[in-house]
């Protein structure tokens, strides 16, 4: 680990002033491209880009709590669905305009998130994740049980649109910019929070909660904050989503297990605990998925059109990428780019005497702390052999 640590750079590398310039320039270029995209691509892709932007927001919402604090949520769709359904129901049932229902939906999502999160965050590691896995399942069953209100598995009718014009193309472009504005706003807020002191505490919690407490910081407070922030972002994105032409309040778009899983894949592929990675991978992953669905090329041997097996292909490609780039695309690019620059400038990173910030794979940190959490939990079970002896010996690990 130590050899790797000096050779590569990670999260802290994002704040390394040496590379500030180029990465920020790349980010600005990316945002400008997104800003002018509707004029560069055909209308159908404007629609796809809108979907991709919402998906990127979902992925960022996951990353701020799970990627940063290491509290892995397997059920983030819970937030998207509560946001989307709340806003849609308030609009459909009470006739309130989206400008009222969306903020209310965000509040409802945060409250629901706290109801689940505050007790769940007392559990550590895998035990927390199990709760988050169950939460959306319960919600889905409630929706099915009270189908008259929630529309069951088919979902609700489309609520009133936020932006609607006579010309479909204009409507799509307008909604694209709505999504783009929301995307930029969420990106800015999440970057600000994670680059402040709170971000340093979040990642410290991912490493070792006890060390954070021993540093005089309340881990529970920061975890709940990250969770509430994530709920607010997820709820906001979900709420606006259902008021656009690309989204509807139905389980397959907002609540299905696949939604929760795709969000995790996007954030990990982009680079867990970077926000930017979740944003980039979220956009590209969804676009790639939508593109595969349009490919009509017939694969010779199996005699099937690519479009018919798009989900299978998509999963295979993600799997390969996960193996090839476990640290995520953003880390890989920043590291690769940084090393290349160092070569060009004739700088030898290896003799830098540990100058490079450590590259700690976020997934590895989560894995390690899960192992400890499970061991600690086993130690607490009365009658378990190794637990008490270890504790008495002073070493809880």
């Amino acid at each position: 680990m130590s050899a790797d640590a000096t050779a590569t750079r990670g999260l802290v590398g994002l704040l390394d002033p040496r590379r500030y310039g180029i990465r920020h320039q790349a980010g600005v270029v990316g945002l400008v491209l997104l800003a002018v995209a509707p004029y560069l691509v055909p209308t159908v892709w404007v629609r796809n880009l809108t979907i991709a932007l919402f998906f990127a927001m979902f992925a960022m919402s996951w990353d701020v709590v799970s990627g940063y604090t290491g509290q892995i949520s397997f059920g983030h769709a819970f937030f998207f669905a509560i946001g989307g359904y709340s806003s849609a129901l308030l609009n459909l049932e009470l006739g309130l305009p989206p400008v009222v229902t969306v903020p209310v939906a965000v509040v409802v999502t945060v409250v629901a998130g706290l109801l689940v999160g505050v007790p769940a965050l007392r559990l550590r590691g895998p035990y927390f994740s199990l709760v988050t896995l169950v939460a959306p399942t319960i919600l889905l069953n409630v929706f099915i049980l009270f189908s008259d209100t929630f529309g069951g598995e088919l979902g609700l009718d489309s609520p009133a649109p936020i932006l609607d014009f006579d010309d479909l193309a204009v409507t799509l472009v307008a909604n694209y910019y709505l999504a783009f504005a929301l995307f930029v706003g969420i990106l800015a807020v999440l970057l600000a929070v994670t680059r402040s002191d709170a971000g340093a505490v979040f990642t410290a919690i991912r490493e070792d909660e006890d060390a954070v407490a021993a540093s005089g910081l309340n881990p529970a407070k920061f975890k709940v904050f990250a969770f509430a922030l994530s709920a607010a972002v997820g709820g906001l994105a979900g709420a606006v989503f259902v008021h656009t032409p690309v989204g509807n309040p139905n389980p397959s778009q907002l609540l299905a297990l696949t939604v929760s899983i795709e969000v995790i894949i996007a954030a990990i592929l982009g680079g867990m605990g970077t926000i930017v990675g979740a944003a980039i991978a979220g956009i590209f992953l969804r676009l790639f998925q939508l593109y595969l669905g349009t490919v009509e090329y017939v694969v010779p041997v199996v005699d099937t059109a690519v479009a018919d097996v798009d989900l299978l292909l998509f999963s295979l490609v993600t799997l390969v990428l996960l193996f090839a780039l476990p640290g995520g695309i953003v880390r890989w690019a920043v590291h690769g780019g940084g090393a290349a620059l160092d070569n060009i400038r004739g700088r030898d990173t290896a003799t830098d005497g540990g100058r490079d910030p450590p590259d700690r794979d976020a997934l590895a940190a989560v894995r390690e702390s899960w192992r400890e959490d499970v061991a600690a939990m086993q130690a607490r079970v009365p009658g378990a052999e190794p637990g008490p002896d270890e504790s008495a010996g002073g070493d809880r690990r």
Partner: protein, 270 residues
């Protein structure tokens, strides 16, 4: 609590009985009264009572597995004690969360080092200087980092600021633990097994550091499983075995105590 002239068995009872009666909230900076911690059927800490006086360096000594770290864990909020009371500055702090105790000036180091492996030495210390607030930009100002650097220099990590914890030698990890604890500006510092695995020269250096901390007004409790390295450093010692106190007194008294000698198999450990 004279234990010199009596047989080992009676000593044992006397010591714990005395303790149970004598301590109150204001008997010291930190007072532990009748502390008991059970894990299932195993009693790790057994009706333990002692007081830490302000400004002293107290040795907290016992064989491996005697319950020293578990006592620390109960005092610092990692475990909730099964029964008993912990007073800090005259207030009942039993079961108070770790971060709150740290905020009140009671810090500790971990015997099994707990560094944050995703950041540098100075980054680890910076975290302990970060205010416990959700919205804070102290890290963006230079002063926090400057203080973190000073803290690292204080404990002798000045030339390793930008290394990762995994690059540090054993003694370096211990110094990092100390730097993090000191960064929280403690009044009372519990140091868990600082001398384990250290060479003689390192022990001397560290003892010097502890002495200078005491000069600055920090009260110290230093845990060790033997007294060899501690003798010249500590003012007083509490010795425990099987989670219960078996002796208390000056280093000389402890060394001559037959119960303690018995516990260490004829004084081998001392």
């Amino acid at each position: 609590m004279s234990t010199d002239s009596e047989g080992p068995e009676t000593d044992w009872d006397d010591a714990s009985d005395d303790a149970a009666d004598t301590y109150g909230p204001d008997d010291g900076l930190l007072v532990i009264e009748n502390l008991t911690k059970r894990f299932g059927g195993l009693t790790a800490v057994d009706d333990l009572s002692f007081a830490v006086e302000e400004g002293e360096i107290l040795g907290f000594i016992g064989p491996n597995g005697a319950g020293k770290s578990t006592t620390f864990d109960c005092v610092t909020g990692t475990y909730r004690p099964t029964s008993g009371t912990v007073w800090y500055r005259g207030e009942d702090v039993t079961g108070v969360a770790t971060h709150q105790l740290v905020g009140r000036g009671l810090a500790r180091t971990f015997q099994s080092f707990r560094p944050l492996r995703d950041r540098t030495v100075v980054g680890n210390v910076t975290l302990a200087l970060t205010p416990d607030r959700l919205f804070s930009l102290s890290g963006l100002r230079g002063t926090t980092r400057q203080r973190a650097v000073e803290m690292c220099e204080r404990v002798g990590l000045g030339d390793r600021l930008h290394q990762t914890p995994s690059e540090l030698p054993h003694a370096g990890m211990l110094r990092l633990e100390l730097a993090r604890a000191l960064a929280t500006d403690p009044d009372l510092l519990l140091v868990d097994e600082p001398f384990a695995g250290l060479a003689g020269s390192e022990v001397a250096e560290l003892s010097e550091l502890f002495e200078s901390l005491r000069q600055e007004g920090i009260t110290l409790v230093v845990v060790d499983h033997n007294m060899r390295g501690l003798l010249s450093l500590i003012d007083r010692a509490v010795v425990i075995q099987f989670g219960a106190k078996i002796a208390e007194g000056t280093p000389e008294e402890i060394r001559d105590d037959p119960t303690v000698q018995e516990a260490y198999l004829g004084g081998d450990g001392l």
